[in-house]
């Protein structure tokens, strides 16, 4: 790897490794991101140097980027360098790249940092999944993110291939400035953030399977599409059998396979390999807590919650929902009113987490039966697997509480 690095880069990398071993020794987190920060402080071009002569895929979007990154890694096979811990900003990218010399790299990238990562890593493929409201109190207005992506992608080279979701008008707006785009027809039920056209603010009109605006902005033609569990890329159709649930994950797999297809990995091969992805940092895992089996489902924002609610198997089973509003969650839980909890009517919801009263109020107004859980010992015991939906820090709390 040293052949890729300048002297400054080499010194930065040595400092990074020192910090890594120090912070591991003192037990302060994994240390790798701290090391990445130090490395970048010493040598800002470290990310550029570490990316040289490698094939890089960047994955970004509001929802599904951790999962899609894992699907890309599994689909590529061999040894792939990736920021599997979800540290998706430059320091995390440096940490991942300095920890592996594999020529194949997949980096999950925070939406706000995509322009920086594009410039620094010179990727072969960028996968753009979706854009929706997330963590409102950080004032990341989704439209301004789309604007920044558009501007960054307009400056990229011809050989960069953008794999983008054609059903999300904000993603299409952001992507269309790139020179080489492979549009994917992925089911995207969440439309509340792109009801007005990103180009002219008039209404986006949706017809079955398409969308358009009076200004001429419309859904582009696609090279890849999903139908049930079937994925079609160009003229090849592959039957998928993923181990992770939800129609949205078939869409994520289709986009991952479309990206890998650019790098000459055959879709039938990559999609088959993706079956090995069973749980990503606990997401979708079935874990154990006090003799109960718990299906761990993470959703960080309204679009994610809606997708998960739709993926619940039909029936009247109880559902546990845990909501926090710490900094990492966004401190404003108003988004609960943007989730269609009405679809839980007929079930009983056990309200957990620090903002369980915000949740119970929302459910009461939705006429959904609920119980506020002030004492975890009052949770019912059942032999069935319980579905637990949780937002970010509430999910972490339950990861710690439960065992594999």
């Amino acid at each position: 790897m040293s052949s890729r690095l300048s002297l400054r880069g080499f010194l930065a990398l040595s400092a990074l490794r020192t910090v890594n071993s120090l912070s591991r020794g003192t037990g302060r987190g994994s240390g790798t991101v701290a090391g990445g920060r130090v490395g970048l402080a010493i040598y800002p071009k470290l990310l550029n140097d570490l990316s040289k002569n490698r094939q890089v895929i960047l994955v970004s979007g509001t929802n599904g980027k951790t999962t899609t990154t894992a699907l890309c890694v599994a689909g590529w096979g061999d040894k792939v360098c990736s920021n599997a811990t979800g540290a998706n900003m430059p320091a995390g990218h440096v940490a991942a790249l300095s920890g592996s010399s594999s020529p194949h790299v997949v980096l999950e990238t925070d939406e706000a940092w995509l322009p920086v990562a594009l410039e620094a890593t010179n990727p072969r493929v960028v996968v753009l999944l979706n854009l929706s409201r997330d963590q409102l109190d950080r004032a990341t207005e989704v439209r301004s993110i789309a604007e920044r992506w558009r501007s960054a992608l307009s400056k990229t080279a011809h050989d960069l291939v953008v794999v983008a979701n054609a059903n999300d008008p904000l993603v299409v707006y952001a992507s269309e400035s790139a020179k080489n785009i492979r549009w994917c027809n992925i089911e995207t039920p969440w439309t509340s953030d792109a009801v007005s056209c990103p180009k002219c603010t008039q209404s986006i009109v949706r017809t079955s399977g398409s969308w358009s605006c009076v200004c001429g902005f419309t859904k582009p033609g696609c090279v890849a599409s999903v139908s049930g569990s079937e994925v079609r890329i160009d003229n090849e159709t592959v039957q998928t059998s993923l181990s992770i649930p939800g129609q949205f994950n078939v869409g994520n797999a289709a986009m991952a396979a479309t990206a890998l297809d650019v790098l000459n990995v055959d879709p039938s091969k990559s999609l088959t390999s993706m079956k090995s992805v069973t749980a990503i940092a606990g997401r979708f895992a079935v874990r154990t807590w006090q003799g109960r089996k718990i299906h761990m489902l993470l959703a960080k924002n309204p679009a994610g919650f809606d997708a998960l609610l739709q993926s619940l198997s039909p029936g009247t089973d109880d559902v546990w929902i845990a909501i926090n509003a710490r900094i990492a969650d966004g401190k404003d839980p108003s988004w609960l009113y943007d989730v269609s909890f009405e679809q839980l009517r007929g079930r009983k919801v056990w309200c957990l987490g620090e903002r369980r009263l915000d949740l119970s109020t929302r459910l009461d107004y939705a006429n959904v039966t609920y119980e506020v859980v002030n004492d975890l010992n009052s949770l019912p015991k059942t032999s069935d697997t319980t579905e637990l939906l949780a937002n970010y820090t509430a999910f972490s709390d339950w990861m710690q509480r439960t065992t594999a």
Partner: protein, 225 residues
Amino acid sequence: MKIALIYPELLGTYGDYGNALALSQRSTRRGIDVDVMNVSITDELPDADLYLLGGGEDGPQRLAADLLKKSSLKQRVANGAHVFAVCAGLQILGTSFCVEGNDAYEGLSLVDVETTRGSVRSVGELLSQVGENKMVGFENHGGVTTLSPGIEPLGTVLHGRGNNGHFDGFVTETIWATYAHGPVLAMNPWLCDEVIAKVTGNNLTPLKTAADQLYAERVTSLSSR
């Protein structure tokens, strides 16, 4: 009671559906008939007793203001219709507001208030004293709103920023406006009931809902900060 939710595709950023939901649930549970109409930007403004205006980002806010200027809203308010507005909706009701920089954009001039761009964004929880009650909510906006003499603020800020750090929103005979976005009526059952009582002219029977507990918890938590 006929409720019109104005342009939810433009003004619906922060859980603003919560206000329509709380109004309709708290009325229905008392046997008051409610009809909630979603008004799309291509629709004529329908006849309604109460018009709801939500929050929105800059571009959509400007378009909503343009459409409302051309609409019958001002006439309908003059004829006695009520308005409940939050955040960007509050700004639109005034004489001018700022979007995309510091250029003033013309509002509806329904109320003589003016919004300029503040030096910082106001983000976080809001607690204000509204008459004898406390109001809790969340704000997220970059505006500073100045009320002309004679215009009453809705509340006095106890925590957070509101219009300017001292007062939040404004209130007239038929209009309520606050910087607390989205589900402010869901979180403040007494305020929601006050709006329903005023709009329908009914004396409301007490109603117990899950919101009572949330409201009590937020008031306690914010009062101690």
